[in-house]
Symmetry: C2
Subunit: 219 residues, 2 copies
Amino acid sequence: MRISELSKRTGVPVATIKFYLRERLLPPGTPTARNQAVYGEAHLRRLRLIRAFTGIGQLDLTGVRQLLAAIEDDSLPLTELYELVDRALFPLERVPERVEGTQRVRAEVDRFVDDLGWIVDPAAPGRDRLTIVLATLRRLGCDCGIDFFAPYAEAAERLAVHELDLLPSNGSPPGRPERAAAVVRAILLNVAFAATRQMAQEHHAALRFGECPAPAGSG
Amino acid sequence: MRISELSKRTGVPVATIKFYLRERLLPPGTPTARNQAVYGEAHLRRLRLIRAFTGIGQLDLTGVRQLLAAIEDDSLPLTELYELVDRALFPLERVPERVEGTQRVRAEVDRFVDDLGWIVDPAAPGRDRLTIVLATLRRLGCDCGIDFFAPYAEAAERLAVHELDLLPSNGSPPGRPERAAAVVRAILLNVAFAATRQMAQEHHAALRFGECPAPAGSG
């Protein structure tokens, strides 16, 4: 198909597609004439993937580039692919504060992960992030122990298994299409969880505090 | 305390504190002399809150300003406060694509929420986001029904109740300190959940595919 059809089928403006081509996020099409090329289903799939990353995934182009490269690097195990997704979604360099007593909290987090029986990279980004969250909550006056996170871990485990069940179960490591699907699902389903969480918060806050939205014009 | 001590106790540079003062994110201190002021515990708490929002919460100053204003607007029910947190974390204007067939998917989402028995604002941001996620997943080839989200809703509900249990349970709507705490927890615990999810994915992917990280120098 021509670039105009690629644009029509994905809703991505032609100028943006040309930008992705220049940036090599999209491979070049097959040349047909001077300054003309045609594109195939692979381009369509790739373009949809990029738009899912930059749209609802809110990733910047650096993150998109890293994830596309990681999907295509077959030597990279799925476990590390998940770590990369996580680093792209929650770049730790954007967390400038050094929270006091972080080392002690980190030891609590490591023990928590061990007690769950999870085999996790000692450098996994989740450890750092859970540490910063707990340290920050305490600085803000929350009297919460590490066990406060037990229900989060339980829910996370159930959902991780639910998502892995979508991958082929013949035991061999997933191929590129499945790796791409696993990455995009890791991103989108994080958003889906947050969406259900927002609605659950709203429902239960209303139940608990009997709140109704203030009528228009009041307040 | 002087601005220098405020800086020391929070790890926020003096120049940044002055910026927050100019931007009125922090109220002015009590003047003691020409160009001198002292700050109290309220400033310390507020500064920590701002840093949690901009640091691990990854919010921009617009989001910070909106949330601070919403916390102080006592006429705004907690349910709407949660909606605002969600909009700040997942600004929908950053999702440019119009996914085909979205209206039909939205009807599925609305029915799903009804079937859960949740009372949720028809304009709640979670509805839109869940719609876009499901429509995008299908565009990318995922053969998933709306029921795929049932375990997400179940987990979200359990965690929402877990978090609401931290608020005072005398039935009266929470005051400002509790509203601030609810907002910061909604933000931080979203990150905490994602952190546990990353580790659970890593653990279960390794279990399922027997993957080990590639030895250094290979590949």
